[in-house]
Symmetry: C2
Subunit: 223 residues, 2 copies
DNA sequence: AATGGCACTTAACCTAGATTAAGAAAATTA
DNA sequence: TAATTTTCTTAATCTAGGTTAAGTGCCATT
């Protein structure tokens, strides 16, 4: 999981009141949640009760940059939806080299799909790159929701289809494009991310060493 | 689409009667169809009526090797399930180089997922590598089935999840493994395929030139 | 303000795999 | 059966990107 639909809802969050009253807090919660609900409603429509039910099965957590949400060898228990901040999933091969599978910023889902569906230990790490607010949906709750609200089964089918299409395209790109062209595609896929994460992460995503990426970048600037 | 679940049902087909009577023909049809039904029932159980409904929405077609089922620029109208034979999906980049996205043999699904879900022109070709018998499921019928038999929505969700996991693994492999190691993984993913398709197709799948593949192979044999 | 740890750069050298070309073997087709 | 097209092999040469190493700048702690 981790896919390609971002939306414009964040604007809402900017209106956050600073008040501490119980009521303000509750409104705040609603606004936070509307990002994920809106994300879902891009594909399926939910009734008020269904939204309520869905939200009751999720929880919000805050994580500091550098937190590790999942390590290689662990079983992935949750799908994570990003309200704010940036995460990445990556693996580490024998040579102690990291490879980024996906980034996730506002409005994206992330998780270790293999471990999530098999409930076996995976080989991915999930790390927070920038302080993040996440919506957690446990594997069990997700399964319950599939039968309680069949529309959600549709939603996640569509989500997964989109993720697959994006992945296939990236795979073909890796087979046929140069590092420079892949960097170009990265910029389009994750607009604005270049300013927010260390460039060694981008190098790892497009599949080159930080040294080569640096060389390539300065060549691009000289143009 | 095109994913990683194969099953052992082909055995059934070997019992095919050669008789031409109406009855034998009907039994034959049932056996053909039981491959796809069995494939579905690995993940969800269907009633007799549901199976009937599902089958009524599919059609069987036979294609000769070298047939092109889909070309770049066309809109993909069907998901294809392989009863027998071998297909591949691939794209062609500027340099007129082909890259294989997927192979599909008995018990696998194949299609251009991007074009299928967006109903826009895709950039994949789908070609028959070995005379094939396919079950065709049109996009419209597939959508109807989702609402008529919600269990099928679950089936295709699971199918897509598995395809995504396989794709992610291949992507990471391409980033971190040598051509030799990727060839090794190919052999495991598509056992028996090495004998059935030209090796330039395998080279294209693992992402090397036919020349390099040949060199690599003779090096492996010398060991 | 000093220390250590990252992230980034530069540069010399190295290698997996690409390219080009030409011939041999195998498979299609006539 | 021969003719033609494809596939496969071998070999020389080339290059995108890797490796190693050393140095710079930038924070975060103390």
């Amino acid at each position: 999981m981790s896919f390609s639909i971002v939306d414009e809802l964040f604007e809402l969050r900017k209106e956050q009141t600073k008040q501490n009253s119980y009521i303000a807090e509750s409104i705040f919660q609603k606004r936070i949640m509307s990002l994920i609900i809106n994300n879902i409603e891009k594909h399926v429509q939910l009734t008020a009760e269904e939204k309520q039910l869905f939200l009751s099965k999720t929880e919000i957590q805050h994580y500091k940059a550098k937190s590790i949400l999942l390590s290689s060898g662990e079983i992935c228990k949750h799908s994570y939806f990003v309200n704010s901040g940036i995460l990445r999933s990556f693996n580490i091969n024998d040579n102690i080299v990291e490879h980024v599978l996906n980034f996730a910023c506002e409005g994206w889902w992330i998780g270790d799909m293999y471990s999530l569906i098999s409930q076996k230990p995976g080989n991915l790490f999930i790390e927070v790159l920038e302080d993040a607010e996440l919506v957690l949906l446990s594997k069990e709750n997700q399964n319950q929701l599939y039968t309680e609200i069949p529309k959600l089964e549709r939603f996640f089918r569509i989500l997964t289809e989109n993720a697959l299409v994006a992945n296939q395209e990236r795979l073909m790109d890796n087979l046929s494009l140069s590092a420079e062209e892949r960097f170009d595609k990265f910029c389009k896929r994750y607009p604005g991310l270049i300013q927010r994460i260390p460039q060694k992460q981008i190098a790892s995503y497009i599949g080159v060493t930080p040294e080569f990426f640096s060389k390539m970048k300065s060549k691009l600037l000289r143009k």
